[in-house]
Symmetry: C2
Subunit: 444 residues, 2 copies
């Protein structure tokens, strides 16, 4: 049994490890176009921001560790094509390589803007660690940055620029950061942080061209020219589906490769996992694309187990998410009012701003919790939070509660830990749930 | 409608507020033996430990605020007796006071040791804020402290003594702190903190007498005499049920007043809430007594609503709990291996030590998660945790998961937030759950 992974991110390595765990005799080969695997690209903005002192700290495992596990990683290799009929791939410099099962984990790239100058130097697409090391040295001499569109990585990069003392202009056609995911009331404290830090935010504006001689020097926008020693691209993630498309695999409406709950594509010998594939949303049953490394890793493991002859199911996603944004944590699961309204979904919203510890305990921070409830089933449709601590754990909780079909009533009557140093008398989730229950029962 | 509360803690004030909210015309009177209501006694150990700079910060509301809400609080009053036949209570200095509904929220006291010298000065029972203010001044001159038995408040007081630089000896007949609730592996890091801080811990030993002339100067123990400028009593909480017992109300096996899910005692005109009552444990269906202020407040609200003619149910408790202990947070819900073993309950244990943020992110801390699973239903029986952050939120989550009947499989396949600054690639709850699943399925 020979199992070949295309992609060395969390999907590909999760798949390789799980395949080897399921069938220790299986030959497992990973092809990656990069020089490294097993580092955390998610840490890059925080090295730029100086919260983390070195890129070296982002590496999780050495190349030797994979060899010891029996996983054969081929670095800096390009896969040219998939020959499904003959079950082989063509690798630049290696020729045709056969497979019994192929797992596509080719990931994502930034959506490019179709405007002049997009190939100039000085346009930074945050993703690869070697590249980030070079950009970081460059940042020492950067005085002005323009962040183009404000996706999640861009949100982290804006903070990094602020921490580096770089004068930053943010240009985004949307009305607020991460507008497709986050509600305006949740992002407002972040916007305020940036405002106080001197970030020039231009919402509802567009970059129309990148200008410069070889290297970008300024960007042209719908509100005028802006000086830019560096441009940081924060456009949406799009799936790397070129190989899959050329091989005639079924591609979904999001651009992601269509897979079933076992990770199998339209070809039974080919699986896919992570950002190149699309996944069913547990609340809407609509396909989604572009989730997190944690999702890619879990999907990779499912694909790896199944490719190696085991059996594991990946369930629809409720998408708990969270991150640092300005001086805050934001997060939630599924979606907020913006998306619910956009898709015409009926909902009732319970909301509160509570506190994370006893009011008098040092380090206490506010946390706003907003719960979207289906008025028919009284189940959770989504949640949004902004707070000083405890956002990730609450997002995990609410994601599980939604998947398990818990009603808002179960949350409105939940017990909670009360101890001054670690939790307040009233849990904000409980208060927000009770608020939703009052509205559902027509008492407000 | 005249509703009388006996007790001015979270139970009594929760009841008064809920009664007034349910029937704004109801007359609501609260009798308390103390000078104050609406402060947080849970904060006292942290003022002693200097984490909080003043006792003033523990007050939540002023006396005027209760008056404005129409709640009539009678301070420093002693209720002598309940006359159920005539629906009145006898109050020292006020005489007989009639009621339509009576709500007992008389709370708890420390179990006294039946040994010589227990009435000496210098024995501190941490509970009342005025008393704590005086003790705090006294602590400035204290060089040696003996903590007698190590319940939750004593755990916080040991840390307070350490922070005050007071040489502390801990004497407890049990084998480790909070041994009735916490497993030894969970408390071990705390024990180690105290050891490093120079606390002389004497497990499996007993205090046999308090000695001194008017004020305690030393304690006699099963291992010899120990000098003590102050003794801190950390014995178990026992319910204040004297009035209820004398009035012939049904008292349960724990010593708590028996109530139904509406908070009603064996007398339909009398309710009870908080530490004076006993509550059904959601996992074992056995009665429990001595929970938290958060439980007392929620129970008070249920009793208040029902007493005022509304309808609200209090569900069996799964008891999420958590606290600071040494330099750690400990917590969980329901019980651990110690109790499960003691009551002969069959269980499978899933356990892991994970991390709270990305391995490389500043502030990352370990967290150990232990899940007890019923091998028949695959539901959660309990959880125990020790970690550097995020214990309270996870305990809340697991308590709700247990009450909702989620299986360990639902947790083993849970999604989680991954973002370096706030959460690790793998959620420790998920890994512990997957460990339990492996054991349940005979794969370990």
């Amino acid at each position: 049994m020979k199992i070949v992974m295309i992609g060395g991110g969390p999907g590909g390595l999760g798949a390789a490890g799980a395949a080897k765990g399921t069938d220790p005799k299986a030959e497992t080969i990973v092809y990656t176009q990069f020089e490294d695997v097993a580092y955390s690209p998610c840490g890059i903005p925080f090295v730029h921001g100086k919260e983390i002192d070195s890129f070296d700290r982002l590496f999780l495992a050495t190349k030797e560790q994979y060899m010891e596990q029996g996983i054969d990683v081929h670095y800096e290799t390009t896969v040219n094509a998939i020959d499904r009929a003959n079950k082989r791939i063509n690798v630049a410099g290696e020729g045709d390589i056969s497979y019994d099962k192929l797992i596509l984990c080719s990931g994502w790239r930034y959506k490019e803007l179709d405007i002049p100058g997009q190939d100039l130097d000085g346009i930074y697409r945050v993703k690869n660690i070697r590249s980030a090391m070079n950009w970081d040295k460059f940042l020492d001499n950067v005085k002005t940055a323009v962040v183009v569109e404000c996706g999640p990585i861009a949100v982290e990069m804006v903070s990094a620029m602020v921490h580096r003392g770089i004068k930053t202009t943010l240009v985004d056609p949307n009305p607020w950061p991460m507008a497709d995911v986050v509600d305006p009331d949740i992002i407002e404290p972040v916007r305020k942080d940036w405002e106080e830090a001197g970030v020039d935010m231009r919402w509802g504006e567009r970059v129309t061209a990148f200008r410069g001689d070889k290297t970008v020097t300024h960007v042209e926008t719908t509100f005028g020219d802006v000086q830019a020693d560096i441009v940081i691209l924060g456009t949406p993630k799009v799936p790397n589906n070129d190989l899959a498309t050329e091989a005639g695999l079924q591609i979904g409406s999001t651009g992601g490769i269509v897979i079933d709950s076992k990770g199998q594509t339209s070809d039974p010998n080919i699986y896919a996992a992570g950002d190149c594939a699309e996944i069913v949303h547990g609340v809407t049953n609509l396909p989604l694309q572009g989730l997190t490394g944690s999702h890619a890793y879990a999907q990779g493991k499912v694909a790896g187990v199944n490719a190696a002859g085991g059996e594991r199911i990946y369930q629809p996603v409720h998408v708990p998410w969270g991150m640092l944004a300005g001086e805050w944590m934001i997060g939630g699961f599924s979606f907020g009012e913006t998306t619910a309204t956009a898709v015409g979904m009926e909902y009732v919203c319970g909301k509160t701003t509570g506190i994370t510890r006893a009011r008098y305990y040092p380090g206490v921070r506010p946390i706003t919790v907003k719960l979207l409830v289906d008025p028919k089933t009284r189940g959770l449709l989504g949640a949004q939070m902004v707070g000083g601590e405890g956002v990730k754990e609450r997002a995990d909780f609410l994601g599980v509660a939604s998947r398990a079909g818990l009603t808002i009533d179960a949350l409105a009557t939940m017990e909670n830990v009360y101890s001054p140093a670690i939790g307040a008398l009233n849990e904000p989730i409980q208060i927000a749930a009770a608020d939703a229950v009052m509205k559902l029962d027509g008492k407000v």
